[in-house]
């Protein structure tokens, strides 16, 4: 009985994995084809492997990728910084207006995107941040900080109070408690926030499109939609560009995953 359940669950897992990986497979597969191959048989392996697609795409995405990397790292850093501080406040202190502050932070997520596009653009112009990295970092960071605070608060609240009290009695300051206890124990959640924020910042499209211009600040998502190709080549170059552009994200995942696991095992021992 156990064996069939185990076999069945493996089978199910296999199917889920297959379906989940399908888009990725198609992306990679079609990045080696030209227009005719993509239009005629998108699911088959390439007949003629067009490695030139990658060469052509690389030139067009490399600088935007650097720009996106700068923005993404900065956004992650900023989000972690403010979220950790804010979550700590909510988790550790009881203070007046805590519910209100929390609502203010959460409410931000509920504002539909388009309502903000033009006012935010006007605002950034007024602040003199048009076509700068600052203009690309702050608004997305603000958006992700809300989710980050939300997730981290629950994680920190889950940490047993006795740990905090013990540290306090030993004379540790809040910052010390924060960095030595709260943050390490929230490892998995922080890793999740890094991944989520990183993904959102990297894939952000509409905002960079309207708020920047020129190659010095161009983000990779914008560069991808503008990637030129001949009629013969078709979308293969675009797909190649997508694959290249997703490599840093994969790196980010691996990096974050490792600390994810490390934080977990630590948590398990303590728990």
């Amino acid at each position: 009985m156990k064996k069939t359940i185990s076999a069945l669950s493996r089978f199910l897992l296999g199917i889920l994995l297959f379906l989940t990986l399908m888009p990725f497979y198609l992306l990679v597969m079609n990045s080696f084809k030209w227009s005719e191959g993509i239009v005629k048989h998108p699911f088959r392996l390439a007949e003629e492997w067009q490695f030139g697609n990658y060469v052509k795409a690389f030139g067009q995405v490399i600088r935007p990728m650097f720009n996106s990397a700068v923005v993404t790292f900065s956004v992650i850093a900023l989000v972690l910084l403010v979220s950790v501080l804010a979550a700590y406040a909510f988790a550790r202190f009881k203070f007046r207006g805590s519910a209100l502050c929390y609502l203010i932070i959460m409410a931000m997520l509920m504002i539909p995107g388009f309502v903000l596009l033009i006012p935010q653009f006007i605002q950034i112009n007024r602040l003199g941040m048009y076509n700068t990295f600052w203009g690309l970092i702050f608004p997305p960071a603000a958006a992700s900080a809300a989710t980050g605070t939300f997730l981290l608060r629950t994680a920190m609240e889950g940490i047993s109070n006795s740990l905090f009290e013990a540290a306090e009695m030993e004379g540790a300051t809040d910052l010390q408690i924060l960095t030595r206890i709260a943050v390490p124990l929230s490892g998995p959640v922080i890793a999740t926030i890094v991944i989520m924020t990183g993904l959102n910042a990297w894939n952000n499209y509409l905002w960079p499109l309207v708020s920047t211009t020129g190659p010095n600040t161009q983000q990779v998502t914008v560069a991808l939609t503008k990637m030129v190709r001949t009629a013969m080549e078709g979308d293969g170059i675009l797909f190649a560009g997508y694959v290249i552009a997703s490599l840093p994200l994969i790196l980010l995942f691996c990096f974050a995953s490792r600390s994810f696991v490390a934080g977990l095992t630590q948590g398990a021992v303590k728990g």
Partner: protein
């Protein structure tokens, strides 16, 4: 201990990145590099060049919805560079993806950052003009162009295009440089295999579709997913125009052979427009019959996919414009031959009231160049912008674009290259723009209710009632906006 090390590394990395960001952010102001490899941007080199040149550097921001075709981008880019070499005025190209062009434009203008010169389709340019974003070209039309001397600039355009550009007698939003000519592409191999002939009349068209369907192939890939696919609106224009052609005479108060927006408002108020009439109902019924030969998912099919299906040989016919020629050819890869035909003519065989001539799908002013109204405060820049627009709309440039990227030129003095022979306009122009000449809202209404009508979600009666209601609603808004009433003859003189 490992944790501490990692924290240190992270902090260091963080600091390095924030430093890089700040440097890069500052670097934005100076902009010393000009990155020529990336597409579309001839970088503005303000400080460096200004110091070396003794005259003032003018630079213009030019936006166009060019898409991602490499050839188009290269051609436009080289045209811009030639212009700079000729006049010393730098032009920076903002090439936007079509889907987000309008969003980008609207957002930039909202913050007073609109481009100096940009192009668009007639509906958007008209709206932009009414929103106070565009410079009035009226006087320019009455003067000579520096690049096409010997006549008034406006007279270089075909008459019906010229007329169409005047929003009112005194307002012109820009200068058009091409027109779209939609043709039906027919796969010769499939036709031959089904024993069908390339049709000229509607009756022949329906017969050919039937034969192709019987041979087991879907006759037509008709994209009807969103307004951008345009097919339903234009095809209906043509068929309605062919059958109900007498409405033109009834509505054309001004007598120029074309029904303008004001005349439509007037006609509506006088009860002369009613979609319940038998001619229009017959037209819609024809379209419904036609739809049985479409792919089953037409309400979810978009233009690009339809053209791909044609290229794969899955359908016998598809609509496309001259600018799609290269893309379609490369997808087909020589697998079959095709011919292009205009919308089949509805003859008396099909409907006794038919005009007997086909009405064009397209033929409206397109790729209209407009100038940002805010340039009015800077005379030098305004002059440069006008000069630039006249350059890129000159006959030489139009010919070049026709030859290299298959754009249909408007200039009367431009000869059509051989490859575009199938796109020579032989049909009647669109005299009554039933569904495309009013505004975006009406197009939306017509498109959506059309989807419902075709898929039997609503009946023909409901459909025509909905169009009547939509017309009334939209025209009321337009009349209010423009202050048109029967008393002032709807703004016409």
């Amino acid at each position: 201990m490992k944790k501490k090390q990692r924290n240190k590394v992270l902090t260091g990395l963080l600091a390095a990145i924030m430093a890089a960001a700040m440097l890069a952010g500052c670097g934005q102001e100076e902009n010393k590099e000009s990155n020529q490899e990336t597409t579309g941007a001839v970088a503005e080199t303000e400080t460096a060049k200004e110091q070396s040149a003794d005259k003032e550097e003018i630079s213009l921001v030019f936006a166009q919805d060019l898409g991602t075709d490499e050839k188009s981008n290269q051609v436009i880019q080289s045209i811009l560079e030639e212009y700079t070499a000729k006049t010393g005025v730098e032009v920076r190209l903002e090439s936007l993806p079509s889907a987000d062009y309008q969003t980008w434009l609207t957002t930039q203008f909202a913050a007073n950052r609109g481009p100096d010169v940009y192009s668009g389709i007639i509906y958007n340019m008209t709206t932009d003009y009414q929103n106070g974003q565009l410079y009035n070209f009226k006087e320019l039309y009455d003067s000579e162009s520096s690049y096409d001397p010997g006549k008034k600039w406006g007279e270089a355009l075909p008459e019906y295009i010229n007329e169409r550009m005047y929003i009112t007698a005194d307002d012109v939003p820009g200068y058009p440089t091409s027109t779209s000519v939609v043709r039906i592409f027919c796969n010769k191999d499939i036709f031959a295999a089904a024993g069908a002939e390339i049709p000229e009349t509607w009756a022949e068209f329906m017969r050919a579709c039937e034969q192709i369907k019987e041979s087991g192939i879907t006759p037509f890939a008709f994209p009807n997913a969103t307004i951008d696919d345009l097919s339903w609106l234009w095809f209906s224009n043509s068929v309605c125009g062919q059958i109900d052609h007498e409405i033109v005479a009834a509505l054309d108060a001004g007598g120029n052979g074309y029904v303008e927006l004001a005349e439509i408002c007037k006609g509506m108020d006088e009860g002369k427009i009613d979609f319940d009439n038998e001619n229009l109902q017959a037209a819609f019924t024809l379209m419904k019959e036609f739809s049985q030969y479409w792919t089953s998912d037409y309400n979810g099919l978009d233009r690009a996919t339809a053209q791909e299906m044609f290229a794969r040989g899955e359908v016998a016919m598809v609509q496309a414009m001259s600018i799609n020629l290269e893309a379609i050819d490369s997808m087909i890869g020589g697998a079959f031959e095709y011919v292009v035909i205009p919308v089949p003519t509805v003859t008396k065989e099909t409907n006794v009231n038919a005009m007997g001539k086909s009405v064009i799908l397209g033929g409206q002013p397109d790729t209209i160049y407009g100038i940002n109204k805010s340039l009015e405060t800077d005379e030098i820049k305004l002059e440069a912008a006008i000069n630039f627009v006249q350059y890129i709309s000159s006959p030489e440039i139009q010919l070049r674009l026709a030859e290299e990227i298959n754009r249909i030129p408007l200039s009367l003095s431009t000869q059509l290259p051989e490859r575009l022979e199938g796109f020579v306009i032989t049909e009647e122009p669109l005299r009554m723009p039933f569904f495309t000449g009013i505004n975006e809202k009406l197009r939306n209404y017509f498109h959506r209710s059309g989807q419902e009508y075709l898929s039997d979600a609503i009946t023909l009666e409901d459909f025509t009632d909905t169009i009547n209601q939509s017309y009334r609603e939209v025209l009321e808004e337009i009349k209010t906006e423009n202050g048109w009433t029967a008393d002032n003859n709807y703004g016409m003189n």
